[in-house]
Amino acid sequence: MRHLLSPLDFSVDELDRLMDLAGDIEARPDKYKEACKGKKLATLFYEPSTRTRLSFEAAMLNLGGSVLGFSSADSSSAAKGESVSDTIRVISCYADICAMRHPKEGAPMVAAMKSGIPVINAGDGGHQHPTQTLTDLLTIRSLKGHLGNMTVGLCGDLKFGRTVHSLIEALVRYPGIRFVLISPEELRVPSYIRENVLDAGRVPYEEVRDLETAMPSLDILYMTRVQKERFFSEDEYIRMKDCYILDRVKLKTAKPDMHILHPLPRVNEISVEVDDDPRAAYFPQAQYGVYIRMALILTLLNITV
């Protein structure tokens, strides 16, 4: 049985097939509207996440399936002290596939070890969030037509942002990728990403502080939020949070075919005036998130249409 715990669980070929399927779903949604009829998705969310949970639910409903689950640990048997292993054994009797979000890192892996149904990691602490990475890859591929030979700018919190780490690890598998890592000194990518992924793979990259200087070279600009919950001190958070705010003025030097991505939710790092710019891709990105989750559910359930 196949699970999705890390974005690297799928080979490049498998990812290509998954994205081809997502593309077909986008082009011909009617073809898939009853593909999962009679199947049930369990959404096991031990911490709140409106966007990811609803995206999974929308994906399953679009496929004609049903959804059950819980949206916080308080409303689950975890509040009574039940282990993840026990919960997944029980859920395996109720559903055909599950998406799990858990504040503790590795919880979906524990579930996968005991599960009778495919487990999708819907985010485990600061560790992995593979369906966000798949969403990012599909968005870039759909908008650019390919995934290699481009300069990708990653901006903001590159230290704590798990989506950034996963995206780097996924993109380095494609040829001709160059990164511009835009962040303050304190929020640079961790050394293990720099050394084990970028340096080890001889991937060209530069680390800069200034977004405007980097802007003209970028094909993709991936903005991130400085997350309050990752900081130990309020003062430090306040000092960092407004480091990079993308507005129309900063976009003036950007390529006309550059695309702006953001895993959302945003706070103030992208000014709302940018929303109407044709290069703003963060809302379409949420739609691609539904397509790729539909493709993922079909793939893990071995359903062909």
Binding site: K104, E105, G106, A107, M109, V110, D124
Partner: protein, 140 residues
């Protein structure tokens, strides 16, 4: 020079870094076995100056030799049969460690689910880096 001929069948762990024999005794869980164990501390060694030696009575299945590679790669494992060394084993860093070291990451699932085995994988052999199988945090 110390003589290992006193052991009829068993294992002699030689070239243990001086002072480390009790750690190995603990890691190998020898206190839980009822076989004879001799601990020799600070034995003179041409190669190391001083070294520790452990003599364990019994077959190879008695102890988990893979763990030794994690503790000290320089240990020599001598297999004794009928009072003779029949094999010298070189220990290597094990690919996987189960319940030998514990994950210290407070965000790891093992921090709240006590019954889970602590599993680590060898991520970087050259630098002897082990990462937790669940959260991938490096063991320090």
């Amino acid at each position: 020079m110390l003589n290992i001929g006193g052991l009829k069948d068993g294992i002699v762990l030689d070239h243990i870094q001086a002072g480390k024999s009790m750690d190995i005794y603990k890691y190998l869980k020898l206190d839980k076995l009822d076989c004879q164990v001799a601990i020799i501390k600070n034995a003179r060694s041409n190669k190391m100056g001083r070294k520790d030696i452990l003599k364990i009575e019994g077959g190879l299945d008695v102890v988990d030799l893979d763990v030794l590679g994690y503790i000290d790669c320089n240990i020599t494992v001598n297999i004794i049969k009928d009072e003779k060394i029949v094999e010298k084993k070189v220990v290597r860093l094990p690919k996987k460690l189960t319940n030998i070291i514990k994950c210290k990451n407070p965000r790891c699932i093992t921090s709240i689910e006590q019954e889970l085995p602590h599993i680590f994988f060898l991520a970087d052999e050259e630098n002897q880096v082990y990462r937790c199988a669940y959260c991938e945090e490096k063991h320090k």
